[in-house]
Structure formats: C-alpha cells, structure tokens
Subunit: 211 residues, 2 copies
Amino acid sequence: MEIAILLYDGVTALDAIGPYEVLSRLPEADVKFVAASPGVKFTGQGSCGLLAEHSFDDVLHPHVLVVPGGPGERSIRNDDFAMQWVKRAHDTASWTASVCTGALILGAAGILRDVPATTHWLAREELAAFGADVVDERVCVEDGIITSAGVSSGIDMALTLAGLLEGELIAQGIQLSIEYDPQPPYQAGSPDTTTPVVVELVRSNSRFTRS
Amino acid sequence: MEIAILLYDGVTALDAIGPYEVLSRLPEADVKFVAASPGVKFTGQGSCGLLAEHSFDDVLHPHVLVVPGGPGERSIRNDDFAMQWVKRAHDTASWTASVCTGALILGAAGILRDVPATTHWLAREELAAFGADVVDERVCVEDGIITSAGVSSGIDMALTLAGLLEGELIAQGIQLSIEYDPQPPYQAGSPDTTTPVVVELVRSNSRFTRS
C-alpha cells in the first residue's frame, strides 16, 4: 500500500512525522516522502531536515496522500507543478489526508469545496475562504478525505485512518506500540480549554504562529 | 540554549521529532541534531530519513541532551565513541532526557543507576537490568534527568521540560501552538487500558515491537 507524504521547505516536522509513525506500521505499508525535487527539506524552524527520497514523477498514484502543513505551505499553493501533482494524486487516491495548514493546500487545489474539513485553529477563516465547510473538530472524515487540526493532531488523524484502512484491531495495536496514552502536563491544547493569556501569547508571537 | 538530539540509523522518528517540535519553539532554542558522523540517518522502518547536521565534536556541552529510542539503540550501546559522547554531554548538561528505549542508552551509560526512570512498556525489565529504579509513569523527572515512556510520550516529556526550563506560560503557549489536545480514537495507548488481544498482537508482531 503506497502512502505518499508531501514534503517541502518550511514543512512542520511533526505534521509529517506523526502520521508517518502511525501509517508506516500498517501491514504492507510503503511510505514514501515526496517532493518536487528529491533531497532534504528543512522545517520552518530551520534546524530539522527531512529527506524526500522521491520526486512527484516517482509517485503518481498513491493509495493514500498525506499533506502536512507548515509555514512553507504558501509556496506550495503558489507552485503550479506541486498543485497539479496534489490534484492528480488526490483524483486516484483512496484517501487524501491533511494535517494542520496542509488543509489550505487541499483548499487551494479545489478539493475541499463544500466539504466538511478542519485545520489549525489559527487558520480556520483562511480555510473557509476556499469554500470548505469548516468544522470545529480535531479529525474530520468525509468521503475519502480526512483533515485534522493543528500539528499534533496528525497522530489522531492517522490512527483514525489506520482503523478505516485495516480495522480497529490493527489501529489499536499501532496505538499501543507507540504507547499513545497522552498525558499533557497542562490543559492548554485548545483555545477553548486554555486561558485568554495563553491564546494572546500564541497569536502575538511569530515563534508560535508559524506552525 | 543549545539542545542536542541524538540521531542514529534505526532511530524511531517520532521519538526525536516529538521533542523537537516542542523544544524548538522555546525562546532562544538552538536545536541541533547530532550523530557520530553527520548525514541522513534512517529510521527503523527505513523510509524516513532525518538529517544530523552536526558531529559529536560540534556539540560537546549542550544545555539539554535528548536521547530518542528505536531499534537501532543497541548499536549505540555497543559503540564506545557514542557512549563516551553521551556520558560527557550528560556530565555538563542541565537536563538529560530520553524517549522510549533511549532510556536503555542512558542505562548502559551508567546514568540511571538507582535513579527513578521510565521507558517503553516492552523495555522496562531491560531498563531495570541497568540498575534503574523503573517506575510505571509516562514522564519521570528526577534531578536533571527526565525519562519518558514509549514513542509518543516524548511530546508530554518535552512539554514538561519546557515548563521546567522556561515556566508554565511558555510551555502552555507551545502546547496551544501545536494544538496538543489529544483525542485518541481508541483506548489502546497503554497495556493497562487496552485488551489482552491487543497486547498479544503487539508482543508477537515485529512490525510493532521494533519501536
């Protein structure tokens, strides 16, 4: 089962690696990191390099397409070559998935028009501008398209997708193998559960907003 | 603030990238991926390459040392050069952290003797053999050493460490920026909360146990 994860300079590392860690454990999974030109792509913060071993031409019809977000997603939206690959891969994929602002790439590709979808809490208005029916959910499944909220939500998304692809038992085995029994030290993971001070800190600080 | 994350062939990607995603957002963070020889290191599953830009000699005295786990950790334990770097970096670091079977590397370095520590649920007996006082906790903080359970626990560990390093408000801001409001689709993240069938599936399947 070929699973393509899009990479680009300015991708957010956890957006890509959360789903990788889950989906690569599926039986018969063949996960390929794909970019316009193969090579190491650097994250927004700059110090993390992820290798894209495959070009777009190498992976034309993945079974699953995963589009992570990150501050570099704008350059993908403005890149006809990349957008054409995303559209074509989506056309034949059984599942198209996004994490965080990866949903904006799907939106710009016209894939989310009138489709229920989610993204990072700071990007929801922008996603609505692409005609998506934006929902306040962590993971949103709709007719072969699965979108998820900010950065870390890709783990929840990928476990949900693992269950849809291979059944609940396999997905639960993957969850146990990565010991995904989250115990966040704070109640600050969503603007609805944290304090206004924390929300304002994140809104006003580019170190945080460049998710 | 120099933060060194050890990489090696056979590292588990999320063990390294969970902490990276959190700690790289700390003010003044300077995260460096370090290996015996710089270059791309491949994960256990083989299809994910993470770039180590720095050699051991480049990063002798990090403020924080992060040691991820993965099936390749045994080769690190058997590598005198790597173990010497781990010991020396730990000697001057303010914090030494491990994720998953990264704790076995710290154990082999003699760093965890009589120290409360945790690791992946499948590796706890092995950790005890190094003289660690193994605890059944997701994150264990003890005198400049912070260890965490399997794979995904590195996110909880790094948020805890972020709070210790820069205070609660910054740590909460990071948590909100990565929208870490986990909603696992199953109750299967720990051997205590899932069914015996799932535990047996993971114990008997190398795709799962090579965490």
